[in-house]
């Protein structure tokens, strides 16, 4: 299992090397995704591995960043053409500080893929038992904190959000009783759920106030849009086709997803069920005004952008056709 992932990494590395040397007459597109390994953010990689970009004359190079802020930065200063899946917050913060970027489409709408869990024998049996309990989120201002706060508000719960860092550290803190409720993003810890070590208390999709809000977007550098707008559009068109294919051929993509995360195929299939196709639709950003308010609350923006600025920032170049 270990070697499978490593072999994959090695292939990726060599593929990258081969690509940079050979391949002419292809349009080069440099894409940064956040958190490679998640179902939605790994789609460009899957599409590339299947050779679909190449067929369309695109030479796509994918690197991945560990968070939204770095993703935005990789487009601003790191020579990336497209930033895939940064959070709205980081994009707004970058934009008001003069970053030369535009939002070209929604990447992910609503909250899916994350779940909150307790120890199997925890006295917390349902969300109603959460009053006075500690609930983990990754870091202040991060997406997970927003989710916990929204949940707290809409269910009128007296829970205490606590920053616990990465998923593995959070897991330790739950297992050792330092915190009551942990968070995880699939496929991580699904095996622990299946083994009965931990129990899912609620899923992120149950946070209703966030279910119709675009959480993550895709951005492109102004320069890229000005000089090669057609290439940018083509990239999303091809990728959209790939995502359709991924949902039509779940067995095969679940295998790629499983390999990438070094997990069992069954677990991968189980994880994919957390995401419905429409969550990954490209197109206009939903609930942007509310997102701006949240960005102000979380310290990414000082005040919401005026409409003229919003219009400037938004440059939607591609929309998924309704099925």
């Amino acid at each position: 299992m270990l070697s499978r992932k490593l072999r994959l990494l090695a292939t990726l590395a060599t593929a990258l090397a081969v690509q940079t040397s050979g391949a002419f007459a292809m349009e080069k597109v440099k894409v940064a995704t956040t958190f490679l390994g998640l179902w939605d953010t790994s789609q460009p990689q899957f599409c590339k591995d299947r050779g679909e970009f190449e067929k369309a004359g695109l030479d796509v190079e994918i690197s991945n960043t560990r968070g939204g802020s770095e993703n935005v930065q990789s487009v601003v200063a790191g020579g990336m053409d497209i930033g895939y899946s940064p959070g709205v917050n980081s994009v707004l913060a970058g934009y008001v500080q003069g970053a030369g970027i535009r939002i070209v489409s929604a990447q992910f709408t609503g909250q899916a893929g994350a779940f909150f869990y307790v120890l199997a024998d925890s006295p917390i049996k349902s969300v109603d038992d959460l009053n006075g309990k500690t609930v983990a989120f990754s870091r202040p201002g991060g997406a997970m904190e927003g989710l916990v706060l929204a949940f707290k508000e809409e269910r009128n719960l007296d829970l205490k959000p606590v920053a616990t860092g990465a998923m593995n550290a959070t897991h330790t803190m739950v297992m050792t009783g330092q915190i009551d409720v942990g968070y995880s993003v699939v496929p991580a810890l699904l095996d622990a759920v299946n083994k009965g070590e931990i129990r899912i208390l609620f899923e992120s999709s149950e946070v209703e106030s966030r279910s119709n809000l675009t959480d993550r977007v895709n951005i492109a550098s102004i320069d890229f849009l000005e000089k090669r707008r057609d290439v940018a559009t083509k990239f999303f068109e091809v990728l959209d086709g790939c995502i359709d294919w991924a949902y039509a051929n779940i067995d095969e993509t679940a295998k790629m997803y499983a390999d990438l995360n070094k997990i069992d195929l069954e677990l991968a299939k189980q994880a994919v069920k957390f995401y419905s196709r429409d969550k990954l639709n490209f197109g206009p950003v939903k609930g942007f005004d509310e997102s701006m308010e949240l960005a102000v609350r979380d310290g990414f923006l000082k005040e919401p952008l005026p409409q003229a600025k919003v219009d400037e920032l938004m440059d939607i170049i591609y929309e998924t056709k309704p099925q």
Partner: protein, 274 residues
């Protein structure tokens, strides 16, 4: 301190202590891992780590990451120490300039360089350029400080001899300054090597898509704890090996002035300057 003079037998008391210590550590590790004191999965057993280490060593991508890290560290070291020696000679040779700028260098040298990473990432981007810059920055400070210190300890008569021969500035540097300050410079460079590796790793951990630091953090993020330990062991071994290699490379240049007794205290004293 060398009590290891009795090299006739393989199992000198010192060797025996080393071996026993390693065995004790391994046993304690094994016991702790199976004791249930720490919750399962957090501390793998030594054999599991050995297995992961074996897998790592077989994997071609490890050598790719290793190559990236060493490349970044080496280039950063060369750039950083070249600038540092230049600046150090300049400040060392001018009393005025030294009084003007040394305080700033001292101030920066005692700081955690890692907090400059955001600036390096912003200015040099997220690719290998920022890692090289971090490595150069980490190398710069120990080398520049030891160059200045080295310059100041040069015997004044040596400099006067050079002047009396009407040597040009570049020949002064090559024939008088550098040879006369070889020892402190070597100490600074040795420290610079260690720092260049640490500097690169810290940048790779904060953000990178390749390199040993990135590999480590990727395993850690993926809950792959045995491989995390394995990569850590590899990193420590590589760092130790590079330090050792560099020390050996310097030896021929320093042999005529290095005595064993001095050597014992060597690793400790100069580091104060960081």
């Amino acid at each position: 301190m060398s009590t290891t003079s009795s090299s006739s037998a393989f199992l000198t008391p010192v060797r025996r202590i080393k071996i026993v210590t390693i065995l004790v550590i391994l046993a304690a590790w094994q016991l702790l891992a199976v004791s249930g004191l720490l919750f399962e999965g957090v501390l793998p057993q030594p054999l599991q780590v050995l297995g992961a280490l074996y897998q790592e060593l077989l994997s071609p991508s490890l050598y790719y990451d290793l190559g990236i890290t060493l490349f970044e560290a080496a280039l950063g070291f060369i750039i950083g120490s070249a600038i540092a020696i230049g600046v150090g000679l300049w400040l060392g040779s001018s009393n005025f300039m030294r009084r003007a700028f040394e305080p700033y260098i001292h101030a920066l040298a005692g700081m955690p360089k890692i907090i400059f990473l955001p600036i390096l990432f912003l200015v040099f981007g997220l690719g290998i350029e920022s890692k090289i810059a971090k490595s150069a920055m980490s190398t710069f400070f120990p080398v520049v400080l030891s160059t200045i210190a080295g310059f100041l300890q040069i015997d004044k008569t040596l400099i006067n001899v050079g002047r009396s021969f009407d040597l040009t500035r570049s020949r002064m540097v090559r024939m008088i300054y550098i040879p006369a300050m070889l020892r402190p410079l070597a100490v600074g460079l040795q420290l610079g090597v260690a720092m260049s590796i640490i500097g690169v790793l810290s940048a790779e951990i904060a953000y990178a898509s390749a390199g040993l630091g990135a590999r480590l953090i990727r395993y850690s993020d993926n809950f792959n704890i045995s491989s995390t330990y394995a990569v850590m062991i590899i990193i420590f071994a590589v760092a130790a090996f590079v330090n050792y290699l560099f020390a050996r490379l310097q030896e021929p240049f320093l042999r005529h002035e290095r005595s064993k007794a001095e050597n014992a205290a060597r690793p400790v004293v100069p580091v104060e300057q960081t």
